[in-house]
Amino acid sequence: MHLGFRAKVFIGIVAIVLINALLISLPIRSIVQQSLFREYQYRGQAIVSTLAIRSRDPVLSLDWLLLKEVIDGAIGSSTDLIYAFILDENERVLSHSFRDGFPSDLRNANPVSVSSPMRIQLLRADKEFIYDFAQVITIGGQKLGTARIGISKNRIDFAIREMMMTILMLTICSIAAAALIGAGFANQVTSRIKRLQKASEDVLAGNLDIRITGSKHQTCYDLTGCTDTSCPAYGDRLRRCWYIEGTRCFNCPEGKDADKKKWCTHCTVYRQLSGDEIQDLAESFEAMARSLSAHIHELSESRKAIALSEEKYRRIFETSMDMVFATDADGRFFDINQAGMRLLGYRTKEDMLNRIALRDIFCQPKEYEDIAAHLDTASFVKDREVCIRSAEGKTLTVLLSCSAQKSGDTITGCEGIVKDITERRNMEQQLLQADKLASLGQLSAGIAHEINNPLGLILGYSQLLLRSQPKDSQLYEDLKTIEKNTLSCKRIVQALLNFARKTETKMAEVDINQAIEQVVAVLDHQFSLSGIDIVLDIDPQLPPIIGDMEKLKQVFMNLVMNARQAISHEGRISIRTSAQNGRIVIAVADTGSGIDPAIRHKIFDPFFTTKPTGEGTGLGLSVSYGIVTEHGGDITVESVPGHGSCFTVLLPIPQPEVSRRIQP
C-alpha cells in the first residue's frame, strides 16, 4: 500500500525526531555514563584521599577515637559509601566502618603501593558490585598505611539508569510532541494539497474554472489605495496582481513579463500578500488555469476559423476541375483531389497515395527530369505542357504548374496543378483539320465547277465525233479513249463536288441499320471469298435519322472497303450500331494493319492515299467526311498499328421539333 503524503510527513517528522534523539542520545548516554562514572570516580578518589589525609595524624598518634571519627565522617559524607577502613603499613586493619567484624577478603582485594598510591578495583560480593578505592597514606614518601572506601556500583548504575530513563522519557515526550505537531502540520499541508489535487483533477476533467484560494480579502488596490480602473488587476479578487499581465502599477516599469516579475518580488504588495510556497503554488495554479481557459477559448475560436478556412480550401481543392496534388520529398503523391484521381484513372486515393510518384505519370522520363531540374533551380514550374499517362495507359496532354517546398536547399515536397488540355488540343486539331478540309472543299468545288463545263464540252464533242467515225478506225479508238478518260475526270469532279457538298442531297428518314445491311449484302459474299468475315452487331432499337440514304450508304461502303483494304489476308470486320447521348454511333473496326500515327492526321485529306498510283483517288474518306459533316455528324478514328483500326461515325438523332421542321 502506498503511503499518503500526510502519513509520509508524519512518519518523516517522527523519524527525524527519532533519529535525532537516537543520534543525540547515544553519544549523550555514553558521555553522561562516562561523566557519571568519572564523577563517581573523582568523588570516590576525593573521599578516599580526604580520608587518607585526615587519618594521617590519628594513624601517627594512634588515636583510635579520632580515627574512628574520621572513618565515620567519611561514611556519613556520602550515602553511596558502603564501607571505609584504614590499614597500617603492614596491612593490619586499624579501624573500619563495619559493625560485625572486618571482612577479611577485603584486606588484600585492592593492593596499593607508594609507587601506585591510588587504585580502583571492582569487587563482586554476592550479587553486589562494589568499586573499591584505595589510597596510600604517606608522609614524605613513606607509607603510613592505606585508606580504603567502597562505593556500590549498583548505585552508580542506578543513577545512570535514572538519567537514561529521564532521557528516554524526554525522547518519548519529544516524539509525542513531534507527532502531534507533525500531524497538525501534515493535516494543514495535506488539506491544502488535497484542494490543489482536486483542482488539478478538475482541470484534467476539463473544468478550468477552479477556485482554490477563493476571493482575496486584501488586494493590491486595497493596500495602495489605487483607483486606476483601467488596470486589469483592479477589481480582480480572484487573482493576485503579480499573475496578471499588463498591470499599471505605479512602481512597475512597463515591458516584458520577466521584468515585471523581478519588480514584483521587490514590491511591498507582493511582500505583504504573498503566502507560503503552497499558497503561491495554489494561486499560480489558479492563475494558470484561468490563463489556460482564456487561451483555450482563443484557441477554440482560432480552430473554428481554421476549420472553416480549411473546409473552404478543401472544398476548392476537391471541387477543382483541375488536378491539384502534393508530393513528398521523393515525389510520391500524399494528397490529390478528385479531379486528379479521375484524370489519372484511379478509383480510390488509397490506390495511389504514397504509392505513385510524379515521375511515374510522365510519358517521357526526360520531361520529368527537365521539370525536376527546373524545380531545383527556380523552385517552380509554370504552365509547362507535358504528356502524362493515366493508369489505363491513356496518354494525356496537360499543363503542369507546381512549386517546390524547400527546407534550406533541400526539396521537401512539391505542390501543383495539372490542367488537362487533351480535349482542347484534339479540338484544335480537329478545327485545324476542318478548316483545312473546308478550304480544300471550296478550292476543289471551284476547280470542279470550272472544269466540269469544259469536260462536258470535251465529252460532248468527243461523243459527236465518235458517231461520225467508224468503229474500227484509229480515230474512233482514240476518241473512245478521250471519252473514257473524260468520264473518269467527270467522276472525279463529281466526287470533288460531293466532298464540297455541291451535289444535291435528298434528305429523308433513314434507317441506319437498313443502310448498313444493304451495304453488307453487296460485299459479304465477295469478302467471304477472301477470308474476311463481316460481323454485325446491330442495335434493333436504333432510332431513324434524317439524311440521304444513298450518301450514307456511300460512307459505309467507303469505310468497309477501307477496312477490307487494311486487311491483307484473312480477318474480321465488325460493324456495331448503337444510340448514345442523342447520337447514333456506327463503329467499323477491322483487324488490319492499323494506321501509322504519323499519317493519321492526313487520312481525311482529299487525294491522300496509301495505295499505289492509279489504284485509288484518295477521295473516299474525304468524301465520307464531307457527307457525315453535311449530316451534322463526325467521324473519329482510333488505331493501334499492327492491331487494326476503328472508324466511328456519329450521327445526330433528330429532335422532334427538328423533325417537324424538316418534314415537307
Binding site: Q34, L60, S95, P103, A125, I139, G140
Partner: protein, 313 residues
Amino acid sequence: MSGSHRWMIAWAVVWASMFGIGGCMQSENVVSIDMNRREAVDTRNSTPAVTYAYLPQYAHSVSYERHHLLIAYLREKTGLNIKQVFPESFNEHMRMVSQGKIDISFTNPYVYVITAHRYGQKVFAQIVESSGKAAFRGQIICRKDNEAIRTLADCKGKRVIAVDLTSAGGFLYPMGHFFEHGIRQEDFAELSFSPGPGGKQEKVVLAVYSGQFDVGLIREGTLNVVADKIDIDQIRVLATSEWYPAWVYSTRPDVATDVIAKIRQALFELDEHHPEHRPILEKADFRKVIPADDRDMQPVWHLMKTLGIDLNG
C-alpha cells in the same frame, strides 16, 4: 523475514543498547570477595618497643617526616625496636613522659627543664641547629603591612599569639626578649596560644597572616616551614630573641642505661658528611648531635626564673 520486521528488530536493538539496564563502561577486572567472612580487629601492639617522641611543635606529619629516617637509623644502628609516638600537645608530651609512655624525648630545653624538675628526666644530648649553633632563637612577627607596629613598644595593647605556654622558641625566648625591653605579658591586649593538636608553630604564623592576631611568637625557622602555604613576604620579623640552648634528647630515669648508651652513641655517630647520614640530618633539620648535660640548660633556668615561671606549674 520481511524488511519491516528487520527494521523493527534493528530499532529495538539500538534502543535497547541505548537504554539498556546495567552494562559496564568497559570490560573491568572483577575480584570476587566474600563479605560474610569476618574477623575481629586487634590493634594492640604486642611487640615491646622503645618509644621516641618529638615534642609536637609542628604537625604530626612534619614530626614524622623529620624523624622517621632518624628512627629507622637508630633502629638499625642499635637493633632496638624504636617506635615514634605522637603526643597531641606539649602538655600531653609531658604527661606521657610522666606516665612512662615516652622513653626518649626530643624536646625544647624549656620542656626538658620542666620535666627534669618534675619527673627526673635526664638530658644526654643536644642538637646542633642548621645554623651551626647548638642554640636557637625566638622571633616576634607581625604583618608586613601593619603600620601600627614598628617597634617592640608598639606591641603593647596588641593581640599576641604564642605557640604554647611550654614552647621555648614560640613563647619563652620571645617573652624574655619582651622582658628585656620592659614589656610584660599584661601589657598585651590579649595573649593566646595556638590551638592543638600539632602544627602549633604554623598556626601562629597563619593567625598573624590572616590578621586574627597582631603579633606572633615563633621559633626561628618556622617561616620556612610555612613558605609553601603562605606568602611569607607578607610577614615582617619585628625582633629576634637572644640565642638559647638548642633542642635536647632526654630520657626517663628508669630506662636501661645500655639502651640509652646505644641510642646516644648512634646519635653521636651521625655525620653530616656521611652520605647515608646526610639525608637523615637534613630531614631532621639539624646538623649533628652533641653530648649535653644540665649545665648546658642554665640559660633557660635563668630565663624562666627571670620571667617568674613556676617549674611546678
